[in-house]
């Protein structure tokens, strides 16, 4: 089989969904990522943790093949990032989207099918059914016809998650998925993510909320331009490593767990 062919069949579950080897990236010769190394197995979830400007979103872009690497390599589902893209879903923060934009909830979910549908053609019945099923999975089937911008922040985030489900991605990249999300939606998003992981979907999310990382993730990557730690939550989220990531004054121990006080 041609190594560059898009992955259409399920790989054996032992192969990592994501493999990062000494990843270096730079903007205009200023290094923004240095020496990120680690891997993520299918069905597992990785938290990217670090202060603003630490390179979390650069790493997500690099996994999408949108940032040229100055060193190292990234393998996504056994392929180069550009080749694997159709099996990778990016979920932006819901609040960056224009809430006055004239699209319905179902329209947004259908966008996850656009690459599969192709140019010129309109979504077919099968695409609509898949989009409705995805909306059902995030508990928003009854709001399909509502304008996207009329939903709450948490509901919008769930719609974007439904879009990723409709895309049938095997690797999910989420940008701060719990920002501005109410408690009900947080619960729902957590359970949706764990269901996806049970189906073998790998998840990468940037966050600066350590409690969310504990609830939603198995592994963590601590970033402050260079990689501070990459491994299981317990091994990565230690007070020492967090201080190294955020600076000594930013991390406090409260009731035995670490709290990051500034970002």
């Amino acid at each position: 089989m041609n190594a560059d062919a898009p992955p259409t069949t399920r790989p054996d579950t032992d192969a990592p969904a994501l493999r990062l080897q000494l990843v270096h990236a730079a903007y205009d010769r200023t290094p923004v990522l240095e020496g990120v190394t680690g891997s993520l197995l299918p069905g597992r979830s990785l938290a990217l943790i670090g202060p603003n400007g630490a390179g979390k979103s650069t790493l997500i872009k690099a996994i999408l093949g949108l940032v040229p690497l100055t060193g190292g390599s990234i393998e996504v589902l056994g392929h180069r990032p550009e080749v694997a893209r159709s099996d990778v879903a990016y979920v932006p923060q819901a609040d960056i989207l224009d809430s006055t934009f004239p699209v319905s909830v179902l329209d947004v979910v259908l966008m996850g099918r656009y690459r599969a549908i192709g140019w010129l053609r309109r979504p077919r019945l099968a695409d609509r059914q898949r989009a409705r099923a995805a909306l059902d999975a995030v508990g928003l089937a009854d709001l399909a016809a509502r304008r996207f911008g009329l939903l709450s922040g948490g509901q919008r985030q769930r719609v974007l998650l439904a879009r990723a489900i409709a895309q049938q991605a095997r690797l999910l990249l989420l940008d701060e998925p719990f920002n501005g999300v109410d408690a009900t939606s947080t619960e729902l998003i957590l359970s949706i993510l764990s269901r996806l992981r049970a189906d073998g979907v790998a998840v990468v999310m940037s966050t600066h909320d350590l409690s969310i990382a504990h609830l939603a993730c198995d592994d963590a990557c601590l970033l402050n331009r260079r990689q501070v730690a990459f491994g299981s939550l317990d091994s990565a989220l230690t007070p020492e490593l967090l201080r190294e990531t955020y600076g000594p004054s930013a991390v406090q121990l409260v009731a035995g767990s670490s709290i990051v006080t500034t970002d």
């Binding site: 999408l64 949108l66 990016y90 932006p92 989207l97 966008m111």
Partner: protein, 286 residues
Amino acid sequence: MFDIVLAPLRVAYMRRALAECVLLSMLGGMVGVHVVLRRLAFLTDAVQHAVLPGIAIAFVTGTSLLAGAALGALAAVVALVVLGWAHVDRDAAQAVIIATFVAVAVVIVSRRRGYQADLTALLFGRVLTVRRDELVQTAIVVVVSALVLAVTHKELVLLAFDRPSAIAFGYRVDVLDAVLYALVAASVVAAVRSVGTVLVVAFLVTPAATARVMIDRVGPMFVLAALLGTIASWIGLAVSYDASINHGMRLAAGATVVLLMTLVFVVVVATRSIVGRRRHVLVAAS
């Protein structure tokens, strides 16, 4: 009243003017809605000024105004794309382009004498003297735009709504941007002869902006925008025709049409905000 509306149909040049306005309304429906969705009115504005030097050169050299305008539009799009690559702020890029192109146009035109009538027509349009071959040119622009939008419509909407995801999906967003810029440029060039450089933006964008206020779905928005443009065109042409024939009052046709478009926009926005407020009051009272 009925007679006023039907009167333009009895005169050949008014029929051509109406046909031209309907074609441009279709362009305004298709391209204008995308312009509004992408908040690209600034681009239309930049292109509208950018066609000036090309047209000025066409004057001086006696070549086709359309070719001159197309050249100017092309130059503007290229300038915008290049400035975009150089990470120049969009507002700044627009300001630079407009200032430069207007200055160039003034320099070129100031070297000529006796062009005032033509230049007036250019600034404010001459929809009443549209020729058959010019109608055909406009129709070609409409058809080509429709074909291009048929291929790229849903991707352009995705790009307007959620640019980061469009990039993540692997779309060449720079190519999609260029496609839309080219459509805007082509529309401006097509419309500039009839409504003039000053009114092009209003003609292409106002009906779309009105439709945007009235409905929440992109599909019907195209139809409604084209319809609003057509209605405003018809009534505008009829009113200006009636005023000049029966009342000896000169009303510039293109400008009258644009004023009607603006009137519809204002009425719709006002109605929306009054109705919306009443609805809020009712909700609050219940």
